[in-house]
Amino acid sequence: MKKVEAIIKPFKLEEVKSGLHEIGVEGMTVTEVKGFGRQKGHTEIYRGSEYTVDFLPKVKIEIIVPDDKLDTVVKTIIANAKTGKIGDGKVFVMNVEQAIRIRTDESGEKAI
């Protein structure tokens, strides 16, 4: 099992979600986050004074997938979240040791 953690632009969430739904992903966890990468912040003007917005709003998606589905999931996320402009975000993949469904005590891939 792998955990896919994707940081994407907030307005791309709908597209990514439906893309993942179509390939059979049944669950995900979504969080509103703030941060910066190479894009850095940007400057705005408020009442005549410039200021920088350091942390930009992003959305973090977390999905646990069986190993054989990993490639399609990652490709789907990238295809749907891409605008080609700076600030599109990143996808991280990591190993998951165990998964347990609390209600039934099922474990492993059955629990995903």
Binding site: E44, Y46, R47, G48, S49, Y51
Partner: protein, 591 residues
């Protein structure tokens, strides 16, 4: 479970009884014919909806005050069955005063609601970590200021109302009860009377227990509240609640009341016309100077003394932007204020029977639109985007500026005044923040102080002579280009002369500005501009010095500023014990 069932049962019964009550009421229409229908003369009353001309039945002789029903000749020992002319006059006069009273009260209620607008604008423009604190100050000032005004503010401001300079033939719009306010402290300088403050009506005591006095109290109290709440904007996010509590009483008791006495209470600024031939004295229709400049000057002094918020200026003294936390709140508040201004300006006639209210209302909204548009365009052009907070400041600046001249200028004059206010407010915000290094989070000094001054000055420039004849006791009579001035000293010879002149073609001129002829006046009056300037300078000097002394003194009792660590954390919890937004913690609190 059981209790829940009982509760539901009770709710059901209440709902049912309400419904059935409504059904019964619906059945019982049309209502049973009133008793007087039995009288012979006005037989078979037609429902008002069918009467012609429309409204014919809305009021008839029976509706007039009458000791015994008019048509009951049988039980009327005098045998009179008609309203006498005296009684008719009495009823008409009563209705006139009633209309004025209702108008003034309703306008006052609108102005009271402006308090909500101020609270929203100021809180929205501040940061989330201080939202409960800023909101609470805007809330509490209503209670503190009102009680202060009740204690002595009203007495100082209007205690001498009856002694002020007025036009020939003037009657108080709210009724003769205002004659109870007849004690003004007057000194004589240069052989002329200078009214300084009134001294009757403390605590609205039994000697002034009168409807007209109370109506005027309500209207003036909500105006004072506007003055009082302006400094909470310029000193926001760093003003200790304890010091503020003292301030709340002071502002309700003294500064607005004293300056207000000089302009509206019949004091020496109103007497400038009669005493020194300066136009109609210092004219301020609804309070650009009395209300807004007073608040703006206190805001300026307070903002300067309290110092900028921590982090507002960087090491080089360059201002750092501290963005508003809720723009929708600011815009909603601005609209509430603009709505309340329909009470502020038109209500200042103190008379619903003065049809000038239509002109006043239209001028008011035109200036607000011009102010909003011009500030928006200016920001768009010079900074690249139409800054919403500045648009709102621009609309408020237009409203503040038109407050003094609203009754005296043409619609073009109103648009010019509003548009220039929209630009002026931006220049002032930049000047205050960058040059003077005074931190004013909401732009209160720019909106109220500078545009309050612009309002009274613009009146002295653009007033077109169509309103305000005899104001300040000065009648400027004009015939064939010749001018005569009659001051109302109430002497019979003066009244006779006035009656003769106006009866033989001499036209009584209203308040006229230095460029009045451009807007339809018959002449230009530079002396009016002189009176406006004296009023403006007096406000800055007197209110400025008074506020300086006050803040310095009160700072010794309770320091103006809270602890730095509280300010950095946000004042909501340390000062108020309640967070405005308890679930929100991701915001960077160090700024």
């Amino acid at each position: 479970m059981f209790i829940k069932k009982i509760k539901r049962g009770i709710l059901g019964v209440v709902a049912l009884s309400l419904l059935s009550g409504y059904a019964l009421m619906a059945q019982s229409t049309p209502p049973p014919a009133p008793a007087e229908a039995a009288a012979p003369a006005p037989a078979a009353p037609v429902p008002d909806s069918l009467a012609y001309p429309p409204g014919l039945n809305a009021g008839t002789a029976v509706d007039l005050t009458w000791p015994i029903p008019a048509d009951s000749a049988g039980i009327n020992p005098d045998g009179k069955n008609k309203v006498t002319q005296d009684e008719l006059i009495q009823n008409v006069a009563h209705n006139k005063v009633s209309i004025n009273l209702v108008w003034t009260l309703l306008a006052g209620f609108l102005v009271m609601f402006m308090q909500a607008g101020f609270a929203l604008v100021e809180t929205g423009l501040c940061r989330a970590k201080n939202a409960a604190h800023v909101m609470s100050m805007n809330f509490l000032i209503y209670a503190l200021g009102m009680l202060g005004f009740w204690i002595c503010g009203y007495a100082i401001m209007f205690g001498g109302y009856w002694n002020g300079p007025v036009p020939i033939g003037w009657q108080p719009s709210l009724g003769q009860g205002l004659s109870l306010l007849n004690k003004e402290f007057i000194v004589t300088l240069f052989g002329k009377p200078f009214g300084l403050f009134g001294y009757t009506g403390f605590f609205l005591n039994p000697s002034v227990f009168d409807t007209s006095v109370f109506a005027l109290f309500l209207f003036q109290m909500v105006f004072m509240d506007t003055t009082a709440t302006i400094p909470t904007g310029s000193m926001a996010e760093r003003w200790s609640m304890k010091n503020f509590m003292l301030y709340g009483f002071w502002v309700g008791m003294f500064p607005y009341a004293i300056y207000g006495n000089w302009v509206w209470g019949g004091g020496w600024l109103a007497q400038l016309g009669m005493n020194f031939g300066l136009g109609h004295g210092h004219v301020d229709f609804a309070g650009s100077s009395v209300v807004h400049m007073t608040g703006g000057v206190i805001a300026f002094v307070g903002g300067a003394l309290i110092g900028p918020r921590i982090g507002k200026y960087d090491a080089n003294g360059k201002p750092v932007a501290m963005p508003a936390h809720n723009i929708p709140m600011v815009i909603l508040g601005t609209f509430i204020l603009a709505f309340g201004w329909f009470g502020f300006n038109p209500g200042s006639t103190l008379a619903g029977t003065d049809n000038r209210i239509a002109i006043v209302a239209v001028n008011t909204m035109l200036a607000s639109a011009a102010g909003a548009l011009f500030s928006c365009l200016y920001m768009w052009f010079f900074t690249g985007k139409p800054d919403p907070s500045m648009m709102c400041n621009g609309m408020l600046a237009g409203l503040v500026a038109i407050t003094a001249p609203c009754a005296f200028v043409s619609s073009l004059g109103a648009v010019i005044i509003g548009a220039s206010a929209g630009i002026l407010v931006i220049w002032t915000v930049f000047f205050v923040e960058r040059t003077l290094k005074i931190d004013d989070p909401v732009g209160a000094i720019a909106v109220h102080g500078v545009n309050g001054a612009w309002g009274v000055i613009s009146l002295g420039l653009f007033a077109n002579g169509s309103y305000g004849a005899g104001w300040g006791g000065v009648h400027v009579l004009l015939k064939d280009g010749v001018q005569q001035i009659i001051n109302n000293d109430a002497a019979p010879a003066t009244l006779k002369k006035y009656a003769e002149l106006t009866g033989s073609g001499w036209a009584d001129q209203g308040v006229t500005g230095a460029f009045g002829t451009l807007f339809g006046a018959s002449y230009n009056d530079w002396s009016q501009l002189g009176a406006q300037t004296i009023g403006t300078v007096t406000n800055i000097v007197f209110i400025g010095a008074f506020a300086f002394v006050w803040f310095k003194l009160s700072n010794l009792v309770f320091p103006l500023r809270p602890k730095a660590e509280d300010e950095i954390q946000g004042l909501d919890m340390p000062e108020m014990g309640a967070e405005a937004y308890p679930d929100m913690h991701i915001a960077d609190r160090s700024k």
